[in-house]
């Protein structure tokens, strides 16, 4: 990536750190800085705004009660593209912010292959080469990148409508926009689950920015090693010997 | 219209020329559509532009504006040459067989016999029938009597018999009535139509020159297209078949020329030749451009008429008897024939009119107050009045229901004329260009301060705010009700006029004056004299008995004060009054015939005898006697209008017979009862036409070429150009090389609807229709602004580049014509928003008028066009 982007990101990160703060207690590691958290929640906000207004357009008969929140169908319809645009803009910043840690590696492929045993709970800890983000997170990230591009293109076509683009592009965009939305909708359930009750200890990473060392060596061992210099497996064993049980 | 709107549905063939009924008469045009749908009727449209009428036609021919007589002459030539004429009709119902005086000369050089080049008028003595009997098979030689007579009239008056001041030029006051030539009571004739001086042979000779080649040179219509069209039109008389009928439909595209009346004459001649007049689905049908223009004409909207087409008295009419003698025609016909000569009743109409005007003040002793009636010494037509104002002799003007600045030719001249007036009274419903002439474009604030004309604006009422009658093109008098009262301080026309009249009368009463009697003694006996109800006025126009009168034949009596049932009751002894004899029968003791709404049509011919009332005497098709052969049997049994009923010894029909009801066919009374001959005139004798007994093609005053027929007499010889500094005319070969015509759009109504948002939405801005080829040459694309300039002024609007007007070959040269709608001025929605150039179409048009009807030449003048 060009240095210009890095400089922009660094500037943004520093600026946001001055505005907010990262609370890291003893036995914890800093995971997400203020800038990242801000972007994450902005993306989340616009995602849900777009999602709920989108429901009004997607299936009014099922989600009829969503639209009144936004002042009725026509207003929901009118705001939806702006919410979508907000989502795309903040996500684009997030993408610049995360482009480096989200780069796909061999370890991620391995992680995906190992998915079944992770999901089934057989393996309590992630593979030792799992870095700052694991393969699943990266897969979702890149799905959102792709989905956003689809949203943006089809969204503009739908926004400007048949008068600008003709009937067929609109008719096709329709489907693609919906498919993209449905995939993202499916993904968001998993994302929320894993970041809250599915993997306890994760949520605070996006609140205070910090995670426990135990969380780190359990789910992102390579990152733990990178940050602390210690071996994650060994650290875990030592903790077990000390009888120290990880805080949830 | 000789026929009526609904009657068009009975036709088999339509020639629409000089009119655009689909756009300007869309509701009436439905009957043309009915004829197409239900009779497979064909339509031929001849017009300078492919109009919306042309869009529905079977054939469209693009003609050079103003070349109509050449086309119609060519049509006459074709019909005669191919025997597509109605022989029996021609011989018996027209003057085809009449012999014309020796010495009459056809205009091979552009001039008929008797032209006085200095005065630009004709001595019409030779334009007359020869006296005598049946000349069939007799040797032809000039009669010495005829030669003498011709010599006698060479210096005589050109005032026509029974035709008032027809032919008066703009400046020409005319001399005594002493030498008025008359029609011979017994005309010579040749029913074989072979006599070289019989009308038919002269007609044939006259139009032999109008070959398809000549028509192409003049009109720009390719020969093959012309032949196809005339073949189609005359196909109704193929092989002598008399059952089919063709109609000719026209509007102001014909009248607004310096030879407009003659174009219409040519159409009438075609219809007489082909036997189409008087018949359902036939006739010559003038489409009126305003809802009540027919009524205005009937009620003397023209200066040389009194109501009911009575001639206006002239200064030589020293008493009533002289006047009546001058205007009452005497019978002129072949001896064995009969002629009704209905105008012989003129004295009854005139005296009843005077009784209606002056009531008890009109007595036998004082010539029924004939001396109260103004006598006109010269031409007071619209253009002349404004010309006089321009020259400073007319000092004030009342403009009621007329936007003078917009409607006249050469608007600039008219605006300048108003600047010279002392006062101007405008009664309108919107601020218009006339009432605001002082802020016309180009007048600076300093100049405005120099204008001393006092303008009085009177708030009038719109048509939906008044009741009264409209007379439509079909001559129906239809009563309409008020939809809304006039808003605010607006007043009804009759209230405004009555208030002015009563004030003037009061002033005359108080102060006296030169001649107060006509004002003081005018009959004004209305219930509310300050706002007379129009039903009272309508009843007055119909007329009533002023004393008990009895018809000895039927032994019926009408009591004094009762409404008259028909003009047959009118008397010349002062016992009846009628404001307009033609309308007598419209409001009888039985009530207002004009308010009838009966929708029965037993014949299926669209007569609707109980719907409103049609003048004269509820006859729907004029001259309907001509729908039957000489024996009184209809030419077409499926379209029976009237017929001779032998059992009742009278004429009967689904329409009211326009004929003497008890005149049996064996008497051979002519069906054209308003002519002293009783027949239709192919040849117009004496003074009825100022510019020739047959129509001859003349170029418009502004024409790109010299007349190919006679270049030395290119334009109408009796048309006079105006001489003020404002009157400039372009000549062939100058920079003005594009032919221009003006017209109305269906979306707008004259100069009103530019104030109505709906109409403005439909067509928001002025435009100029430009042929695509001309636009290419000038580098003009659609929507760009162009400036059209004539010798008099300029007009700026956006170009509508269209392929509906094609380039033409005129006399071998490529030429273009453009068209400009007339609707925009300098006041209106678009104008006030600054969306137009605020120029007026009539800034371009020339001040020149037809010598018969005095209509300006709005169609066909020269301009140049350039990009702004």
């Amino acid at each position: 990536m060009s240095t210009a982007i890095e400089r922009f990101d660094d500037k943004a990160r520093d600026a946001f750190d001055r505005m907010g703060q990262n609370e890291v207690y003893e036995g914890e590691l800093l995971r997400h800085r203020v800038y990242t958290r801000f972007l994450h929640w902005m993306v989340a906000l616009f995602f849900f705004l777009a999602l709920f207004t989108g429901f009004g357009i997607y299936m009014p008969w099922l989600f009829r009660w969503f639209t009144p929140i936004f002042g009725g169908g026509p207003l929901a319809r009118a705001m939806h593209p702006w919410f979508g645009l907000g989502f795309v803009v903040f996500f684009a910043l997030q993408m610049l912010n995360w482009i480096q840690p989200m780069t796909w590696t061999a370890a991620d492929t391995k992680w995906i292959r190992n998915l079944r045993s992770t999901v089934s709970g057989k393996e309590k800890q992630d593979p030792p080469d799992t870095g700052f983000f694991n393969g699943g997170q990266k897969a979702q990230f890149w799905e959102i990148v792709g989905g956003s591009v689809v949203f943006l293109i089809t969204g503009i076509i739908l926004w400007k409508g048949a008068r600008t683009f003709g009937c067929w592009p609109v008719a096709i965009s329709y489907i693609l926009h919906d498919i993209s939305a449905v995939i993202m909708l499916g993904g968001i359930f998993i994302h929320i689950y894993l970041s809250t009750i599915g993997e306890p200890g994760t949520f605070q990473a996006m609140i205070r920015g910090a995670v426990s060392e135990a969380w780190a060596w359990t789910f992102h061992p390579a990152w733990y090693k990178e940050v602390t210099g210690r071996d994650p497996v060994q650290a875990c064993e030592e903790a077990r010997k000390r009888g120290q049980i990880a805080k949830q | 219209m000789t026929n009526g709107w609904i009657d068009i549905k009975n036709t088999d063939m339509m020639l629409i020329m000089g009119g655009n009924p689909a756009e300007n008469h869309p509701c009436g045009f439905k009957w043309a559509i009915e004829a197409k749908l239900h009779r497979n009727a064909k339509t031929i449209v001849v017009d300078p532009r492919l109009t919306r009428t042309a869009a529905t036609a079977d054939m469209y021919l693009q003609i050079r504006a103003g070349a109509d007589i050449a086309f119609l002459g060519g049509l006459i030539h074709y019909a005669i040459q191919n025997n597509r004429i109605a022989h029996d009709y021609l011989v018996n119902y027209t003057n085809a067989a009449f012999i014309i005086k020796d010495g009459f000369k056809l205009p091979d050089d552009g001039l008929y016999s008797g032209f006085d080049a200095e005065k630009q008028v004709y001595d019409k003595a030779t334009w007359n029938y020869e006296e005598g009997g049946d000349l069939a098979g007799k040797p032809v030689m000039p009669t010495p009597a005829a030669q003498q007579e011709q010599a006698a009239h060479a210096k005589g008056s050109d005032t026509g018999q029974g035709q008032g001041l027809q032919g008066a030029g703009p400046a020409g006051a005319k001399g005594g009535a002493a030498a008025v030539p008359l029609l011979p009571p017994k005309t010579a004739y040749d029913l074989t139509l072979q006599h070289p001086r019989c009308v038919f042979q002269l007609l044939k000779k006259q139009y032999e020159r109008y070959t398809p080649e000549m028509v192409e040179r003049i009109t720009g219509i390719p020969r093959d297209q012309f032949l196809k069209a005339v073949d189609l039109f005359t196909s109704v008389r193929k092989d002598g078949d008399m059952t089919k009928v063709a109609t000719i439909i026209y509007a102001v595209g014909w009248t607004q020329h310096s030879f407009g009346t003659q174009i219409i004459r040519a159409a009438a001649m075609i219809q007489l030749l082909m036997g189409n007049i008087g018949r359902a689905g036939g006739g010559v049908n003038a489409l009126r451009g305003h809802s009540n223009i027919q009524g205005a004409t009937d009620m003397a909207g023209i200066f040389d008429n009194l109501p009911g087409y009575l001639k206006m008295p002239s200064p030589t009419d020293t008493d009533l008897a002289t006047y009546l003698k001058r205007i009452t025609p005497t019978v002129a016909k072949p001896d064995p024939w009969d002629s009704f000569n209905y105008w012989s009743n003129t004295p009854k109409f005139a005296v009843s009119f005077l009784k209606a005007m002056y009531g008890p003040a009109a007595t036998k002793e004082n010539d029924y107050a004939f001396h109260y009636v103004p006598k006109i010494d010269r031409n007071y037509s619209w253009v002349n009045i404004w010309n006089d104002m321009y020259e400073g002799t007319v000092k004030g003007i009342f403009a009621f229901g007329m936007n003078g600045v917009m409607i006249g030719p050469d608007s600039e001249k008219n605006i300048n004329a108003l600047k010279k007036a002392d006062w101007l009274v405008v009664c309108e419903i919107y601020p218009d260009e006339t009432s605001e002439f002082w802020q016309a474009p180009g007048i600076s604030t300093d100049e405005m301060k120099q204008i001393n004309t006092t303008v009085y604006r009177l708030p009038g009422a719109g048509f939906a705010e008044k009741d009264g009658t409209f007379v439509n093109s079909a001559r129906w008098l239809q009563w309409k009700n008020v939809a809304l009262p006039p808003p605010g301080q607006c007043k009804l026309d009759q209230e405004i006029l009555a208030t002015i009249f009563l004030k003037v009368r009061e002033l005359y009463q108080k102060d006296g004056g030169k001649f107060p009697d006509p004002i003081l003694n005018a009959s004004f006996a209305y219930t509310n004299p300050y706002s007379p109800s129009l039903s009272e006025v309508a009843k007055e126009i119909n007329g009533k008995a002023t004393a008990d009168i009895t018809d000895p034949k039927t032994n019926t009596t009408i009591k004094a004060g009762q409404q008259l049932p028909s003009f047959a009751w009118l008397k010349d002894d002062g016992t009846t009054s009628s404001g307009n004899w033609l309308y007598c029968g419209s409001w009888t003791e039985a009530g207002a015939m004009t308010q009838r709404r009966g929708t029965e049509d037993p014949s299926g011919l669209g007569v609707y005898p109980n719907w409103a009332w049609s003048w004269p005497l509820n006859r729907r098709v004029l001259y309907n006697r001509a729908s039957c052969d000489v024996e009184g049997k209809p030419w077409d049994a499926t379209r029976r209008q009237v017929w001779w009923d032998e059992s009742k010894n009278s004429w009967a029909g689904v329409d009211v017979p326009d004929f003497k009801a008890d005149s049996p066919p064996k008497d051979h009374m002519g069906p054209f009862i308003m002519n002293p001959e009783g027949i239709g005139r192919l040849f117009v004798p004496l003074g009825a036409m100022a510019d020739g007994p047959f129509p001859e093609f003349y170029e418009p005053i502004e024409s790109p070429i010299l007349n190919p027929l006679h270049p030395n007499q290119s334009t109408n010889p009796v048309v006079k150009k105006y001489k003020t500094d404002a009157d400039k005319y372009a000549m062939p070969g100058q920079e003005f090389n594009v032919i221009c015509t003006t017209y109305r759009l269906t979306e707008h109504y004259h100069y009103w609807t530019k104030n109505n948002p709906m109409n403005v939405q439909l067509v928001p801005e002025p435009f100029v229709e430009v042929p695509a080829e001309l636009a290419d040459r000038m580098g003009i694309s659609g929507g760009e602004k162009v400036r059209v300039t004539s010798a008099r002024g300029h007009y700026i609007a956006k170009a509508m580049v269209t392929r509906r007007i094609r380039p033409m070959k005129i006399d071998g040269k490529e030429m273009f014509q453009i068209g400009i709608p007339i609707h925009w001025g300098f006041r209106g929605i678009a104008e006030d928003e600054g969306k137009t150039a605020r120029t007026l179409t009539n800034q371009l048009t020339p001040t020149v008028i037809d010598p018969n009807a005095f209509t300006p030449e709005f169609k066909g003048f020269l301009v140049k066009i350039e990009k702004v």
């Binding site: 992770t118 789910f219 | 689909a22 869009a55």
Partner: protein, 302 residues
């Protein structure tokens, strides 16, 4: 929807389940017949439409034609399209066609519309927009083969010709029909109008030399409740872009009847899946945790 007797709903956009009252009464299909061969382009129908529907005036600009505006607007549902067609012999034919909603038997707008009850089709064939349910998504615009529905930015809703359902429901003819001076517009049952139109086309072929005259009632969308008589039915495009074979994008059918239910279910799988995971596998916890007991349940622990 004023009179259930004449306006019975047949189809409703975005609506699950049956249309209420459908098939309860017999109803004739209505139809507007437009004979372009006798249309004189007088625009009386345009004015009648604006007046009856009480629509505001909107400014227009001259654009080199007689046409009032380039295309219909949300407040101008009835527009005569003027087209100059050059024949092979160089002569010009001036074609005028009244453009408005065609009230298709298979309405693309209704197919595309996602909003419940925003578009209804009555059993008499009228396709009517119910603006109170419209969400302004403009999908109907893309579903229409005739470019008819138009969006009003102020109300954020879409409007079009109603075939005067309010008048027709009350037993009157549409306003445009009433205003037409030449009778080129007719209104009646579809069968009658079809018959008159075919007769007229025959007359044009046999008596007026229009060999290709015919009736426009495209079967690709199941026919329309507005039919045209054309001088040249083989080239409807000449009349201001009248499509020869109008089609509704297939994607609407696929989308509505296949993707929507399937995708909806798919999205729910995400929710169901994670819940299932939580109660079966349970959360993954940061290590170390207390050692696991033997996970095989004994009888008393069940």
């Amino acid at each position: 929807m004023s009179d259930r007797k004449t306006l019975q709903i047949k189809q409703i956009s975005g609506h699950s389940g049956p249309s209420p009252g459908f098939d309860m009464q017999r109803d004739a299909e209505v139809c507007k017949l437009i004979d372009t061969t006798i249309c004189i382009g007088c625009k009386a129908c345009e004015v009648a439409c604006v007046e009856w529907n009480d629509m505001p005036f909107s400014p227009t600009t001259f654009d080199n034609t007689y046409q009032t505006m380039p295309a219909t607007r949300w407040n101008f549902w009835n527009l005569i399209k003027f087209n100059e067609h050059q024949r092979e012999d160089g002569t010009i034919q001036w074609l005028m066609r009244k453009d408005q909603c065609m009230h298709c038997a298979d309405p693309g707008c209704l197919r595309a519309c996602p909003a419940d009850g925003a578009i209804v089709q009555y059993t008499n064939g009228i396709v009517d927009f119910q603006q109170e349910n419209c969400i302004g998504c403009e999908y109907c615009v893309s579903g229409c083969p005739y470019d008819i529905p138009k969006f009003n930015p102020a109300t954020k809703k879409v409007y079009k010709c109603t075939l005067c359902s309010d008048r027709v429901g009350g037993g009157l003819e549409p306003a445009c029909i009433k205003a037409c001076p030449t009778g080129c517009l007719k209104f009646g049952t579809k069968d009658d109008m079809k018959y008159i139109a075919e007769e007229r086309a025959k007359q044009l072929r046999e008596n007026f030399g229009f060999e290709k005259a015919g009736v426009y009632d495209p079967q690709s969308i199941g026919g329309t409740h507005v039919v045209y008589v054309l001088h040249d039915a083989e080239n409807p495009e000449r009349y201001g872009g009248l499509p020869r074979n109008p089609v509704i994008p297939w994607s609407y059918t696929v989308w509505k009847w296949l993707f929507k239910p399937v995708l909806g279910t798919f999205a729910l799988f995400g929710l169901v899946g994670v819940l299932f995971h939580y109660v079966t596998v349970g959360p993954r916890l940061p290590q170390p945790q207390p050692p696991l007991k033997d996970s095989t349940p004994r009888e008393k622990e069940i």
